[in-house]
Structure formats: structure tokens, C-alpha cells
């Protein structure tokens, strides 16, 4: 088996895709974003509760999708929970750079999310890894500006 493929689909990823953490919805006030990837039918429904300073108090997701999109969402929720607005934004940017640009070593702060950096060797799968993160990016936007119409701005990534 190709080493790049094995690196991408290692046990941690498969484990998160089969037993996603923070899978579910949040009770009470929360920003709710639906994202999908129309070309393959992947879907995510992300709930985020932000604190008064914009910090990520809690987040959960449901959805269906491939192992990469599910594992990315699961690892993302673990990483972002409890982070300040600034830290969350930095993580979002760092992750996006790693999977879309991929010129540099994945920074340490990404922790287990670095396992997904191998996705850059499979260009058609980058959108799978990014699905949850685009939804989170939109949730941050909505938290600061009020809800945007999901019709126009749902994070499609075909």
C-alpha cells in the first residue's frame, strides 16, 4: 500500500471517523451552521456556543461524510473547545494553510490535526478535510455580525 495513503488513513483518523467525538447538538443558544459538499453528498451541521468575548465555550456536530471529513470535524471540536477567539482564529488559519498550501511543517499547536496534513497529497480530498473548518469559519462570522443567510453563504466546496 502506498505510504502516503497509509499515512493519511492511519488508525487515529479511522478511529475518529468511526467514533466521532462531540457528535450531537447543543441545547440552548448556539450558532448553527449547515455545510455541505454537493459533489459527494457530505454534510455537516455544526453548533457552536461562543462566550461574550467570542471564546469557543462548546461545539458539537452531526453529519455524514467520508472518513476524512468526519475525522477532521471530530478532531476540530476537540481542539477548539475552550479556545479564545484569537486562538481559534489562529488554529483555523494554521489548519487551512497546512492542508491547502502545505509548504511548511504543520505547527505543533495543531496537535493530532497534523495527521491530516497528508491530505495535501490527495488534492481531490482537501475539500473533505476543510468542510468542518469552513463551517466553523462561518460560525465565527455569524457570531460577530449576526446570522447570514445560509442560502448564499453555506460553505459549499464542490
Amino acid at each position: 500500500m502506498n505510504a502516503d495513503f497509509e499515512e493519511l488513513y492511519q488508525q487515529v483518523i479511522l478511529d475518529h471517523s468511526k467514533r466521532p467525538r462531540n457528535f450531537g447538538t447543543l441545547e440552548g443558544p448556539a450558532v448553527h451552521v449547515d455545510g455541505d459538499n454537493p459533489s459527494c453528498g457530505d454534510e455537516i451541521h455544526l453548533h457552536v456556543r461562543f462566550g461574550t468575548e467570542g471564546q469557543v465555550e462548546d461545539l458539537r456536530f452531526t453529519g455524514v461524510g467520508c472518513a476524512i471529513s468526519q475525522a477532521s470535524a471530530s478532531l476540530m471540536t476537540l481542539k477548539l473547545k475552550g479556545k479564545s477567539k484569537q486562538e481559534a482564529r489562529e488554529l483555523l488559519e494554521a489548519f487551512t494553510d497546512v492542508v491547502t498550501l502545505g509548504e511548511h511543517e504543520a505547527p505543533k499547536m495543531l496537535g493530532d490535526l497534523r495527521l491530516l496534513s497528508g491530505v495535501r497529497k490527495f488534492p481531490q480530498r482537501v475539500k473533505c478535510a476543510m468542510l468542518a473548518w469552513r463551517a466553523f469559519e462561518q460560525a465565527m462570522q455569524e457570531a460577530s455580525t449576526g446570522p447570514v443567510s445560509t442560502e448564499k453563504s453555506a460553505p459549499h466546496c464542490s
Binding site: 495513503f5 488513513y9 454534510e43 472518513a67 480530498r125
Partner: protein, 412 residues
């Protein structure tokens, strides 16, 4: 040559004539099972394109010079070849298009705008490719006609018991796929067209998945229009065909305007040529049409009955063996089917599965196969699909079965 086991003709000798097949992908020999998306091209077709560009290239129907005459002759010879291939009454019933999608859009616009009005019904089936659905949704929006759908049985065939209820006098058009690119179902085309005719409805057949795989005789089918794509039957991309029955084509106004389709142009108005030229505005895909002619020669030399038998045998074998693998489920009817099999794994997403197969050199399609409404109805976000053509072998199906079994272990 024949296969000793089954006495059916082996097409294996043709394989060497497809240069692209002889390569490795991700370190493994290529197994190309994405033929329903597009087929590979034999040397004979590639050579026909090269010959045209090296010797005959010129615009058609225009120049008073030798090359233009040669190009025009070759282009019109391709049209005659297509007419023969479909058993059309005359070459003038053959309109060249970019492909199936453009052919259906031509009917939906040119015929649809002239013939559909509020209260009319466009009858489709639940298994249509987006390209035989979206143009009709747009036509319905423009004209006020309504869409109606022939439902499917649980086994994935059309529920013909519903025809009496659905085929009312308001139905002005019936359009259906000959072979489903997702389920593999072969629809009873001549029966459906006869039923449409009985209520005075015009019939359209989407032959994208059948034209290169089986006998398609427009007179035996009795359709008014039929569309297919060259690239799914050994020809280049960018060339396709709309067959239109002469009596209907003559009554249909043009769709696109431009050069080639006019008799005489004044500043305020123009008069149009007869069909098929009326529907071919602008410089056509001359090389594509010539390539399609070469592809038809190639397929006819093999024989469409032999081809269908070959593809179907591979599909039935794959259907039975994938269905018997732990974790997998096959989709679509048992028995008579087109040369393709869609399937799902109980826990592995088709994207992961298709990526895994790609690592082993096996090219499958994973996704919604441009059948979103049906997939949604059946509860599959997406599936994987293996689709076969004349150069595929039983040994390649064996390889696929091994790879799918390995994938089951890898992901479990």
C-alpha cells in the same frame, strides 16, 4: 477467439489497440472501470483525428477550395455513418451537437418553446441523469408546463403499472434514459415510445449509456428524438448526436443563431436552412464528427451484439461477486442490465473506498453520478460504480474483487 468456459467471444485482442491502457497508476497496472463516465480511445480514432488535421483541415460548407471540399465530404460522410448506425431514415435526421446534454437542451429549447404551454405535462422517470432533468425543469419554468415522473419498483426498474395513470392526454413529451448510468437498468424503449405515441406525446430517448453498448435502432424503437455522446463510445469529447424524426425536425424552429444555419440574412431578419443545418449554428466540431465516424467503424467491426454480451457478462459477474463480499451491497436490478454496477459498503464511505482503489490502480467512480434526486430517495449520499467496456477482462474483475476485499479489511 472465444472464452473456453462460456463460448462467448473474447474481445481481449482489442485491448492492445488502446494505447492509454498500458500504463501503471500509483505503481499498479491501470484497471479502468470508469467507462460510463467516458471510454478510452482506440488507435484508429486517434489516427483519424491526426490524419484530418495533417491532411484535410478546413472549414466546412464554405470554401471553394480543395481542402474545404475534403473536410466537408468527411464531415458529411460521418453524418451518413451515424444515420446508418442508428438506422435513421436519412442523414438529414442527424444533428451534430457537443454531446447528450446539448442535444437534450436543443430539444427542450427549440421543440419545447414551440410546443409546450401551461397545463401540458412533461413525463420523465425517477432515474434520469441531471442532463435529462434540469433542461426540462427549465423548459417547465419557461412554458408553464409541469413535470411528472414514472416511479421505480423496489428492484430498480420502471414501475410500468403506473403508465396508465401517468400517460394522460396532457402529456406532450416523454423523455427517458435507455440505460440508467447509476442502476444499470435497461428500459423498454420501444414499449415506452409506443405508449407515448398512443397519447400523441413526442418521445425522447437518452441513449448516452446505450449507443456504444448495444443495438440502437431508432425506427425499431419508434422514438421522435434520441441523444448520445461520442466520448462514451470510443470517440473524442465534444461531439454528440441528436437524432430527430424528419417530420418533427422540419417543424422545429432553430435554437441557436449564427453562421451555417441561415439561407439568407438581412439586417432585420433571416431565413433558415432545412434540418439538420438549421440546428448547427457556427463552425461545428469537424474533427470530432470524423472521429465519431471512425469510432462507429471500430465498434461495427467488433459487432454490437458481441459488445453487449461482453459488457453484460462482466457486469453480471461483478454484480454477483461484489454482492457476495462481506460488507458490500450492490444496487439495481438483477438479470438483464447495462455494463455497470453501483455498490456501497456498509461503513466505508464511497470516497474513501474509491481513493483506496485508486491507490491500487483501479479507476472507479465515486459520488452521486448526476442522479441526486434518486440517490436521495434511496437513501445513499453517494455510491461507488464500476463500468465496463470492450477492453476490460475477467482478470480485471478478479483484481477489483481482491482490492474491494482488502479495502474491507483495511477500513474495518
Amino acid at each position: 477467439m472465444s472464452d473456453p468456459k462460456s463460448h462467448r467471444p473474447s474481445l481481449e485482442s482489442y485491448r492492445s489497440e488502446f494505447p492509454i491502457l498500458h500504463q501503471t497508476v500509483n505503481g499498479a497496472p491501470l484497471v479502468y472501470f470508469d467507462n460510463a463516465a467516458t471510454t478510452q480511445k482506440p488507435r484508429a480514432v486517434i489516427d483519424a483525428l491526426v490524419h484530418y488535421y495533417e491532411h484535410d483541415n478546413a472549414n466546412v460548407h464554405r470554401g471553394i477550395h480543395l481542402l474545404s471540399n475534403r473536410a466537408t465530404d468527411a464531415f458529411e460522410a460521418a453524418r451518413a455513418k451515424v444515420a446508418g448506425y442508428l438506422n435513421a431514415a436519412a442523414p438529414s435526421e442527424i444533428v451534430f451537437t457537443r454531446g447528450t446534454t446539448e442535444a437534450i437542451n436543443l430539444v427542450a429549447n427549440a421543440w419545447g418553446n414551440a410546443n409546450l404551454k401551461p397545463g401540458d405535462v412533461i413525463l420523465l422517470t425517477e432515474m434520469e441523469h441531471h442532463s435529462n432533468l434540469v433542461p426540462w425543469q427549465q423548459a417547465a419554468q419557461r412554458t408553464g408546463a409541469q413535470l411528472r415522473f414514472i416511479p421505480l419498483t423496489d428492484s430498480g426498474t420502471l414501475d410500468l403499472s403506473q403508465l396508465d395513470r401517468l400517460l394522460t392526454p396532457e402529456v406532450k413529451l416523454l423523455s427517458f434514459t435507455h440505460i440508467s448510468n447509476f442502476l444499470g437498468t435497461i428500459n423498454p424503449a420501444s414499449l415506452l415510445c409506443a405508449r407515448a405515441r398512443a397519447v400523441g406525446a413526442t418521445s425522447v430517448v437518452d441513449a448516452a449509456q446505450s449507443a456504444g453498448h448495444m443495438q440502437v435502432d431508432v425506427q425499431a424503437i419508434g422514438c421522435d428524438f434520441l441523444a448520445f455522446s461520442g466520448h462514451k463510445m470510443c470517440a473524442p469529447t465534444g461531439i454528440g448526436v441528436l437524432y430527430g424524426r424528419a417530420s418533427i425536425l422540419e417543424q422545429t424552429p432553430p435554437w441557436q443563431g449564427g453562421g451555417e444555419m441561415i439561407l439568407s440574412v438581412r439586417y432585420e431578419s433571416s431565413t433558415y436552412k432545412q434540418a439538420p443545418s438549421r440546428f448547427e449554428a457556427g463552425t461545428p466540431n469537424i474533427a470530432g464528427a470524423i472521429g465519431l465516424g471512425a469510432a462507429i467503424d471500430y465498434i461495427e467491426a467488433i459487432g454490437r451484439d458481441a459488445l453487449q454480451e461482453h459488457d453484460q457478462a462482466l457486469a453480471l459477474d461483478a454484480y454477483a461477486r461484489i454482492g457476495a463480499l462481506p460488507g458490500y451491497r450492490v444496487v439495481g436490478p438483477t438479470g438483464d442490465r447495462g455494463g455497470l454496477v453501483s455498490f456501497v459498503h456498509e461503513s466505508v464511505h464511497p470516497h474513501d473506498l474509491t481513493s483506496y482503489c485508486d491507490q491500487k490502480g483501479l479507476a472507479l467512480r465515486g459520488g452521486h453520478h448526476c442522479n441526486q434526486p434518486l440517490m436521495r430517495k434511496l437513501g445513499f449520499p453517494s455510491t461507488s460504480r464500476a463500468s465496463f467496456y470492450l477492453y476490460n477482462t475477467t482478470a480485471e474483475v478478479d483484481r477489483m474483487i481482491e482490492i474491494l476485499a482488502e479495502a474491507h479489511r483495511f477500513f474495518s
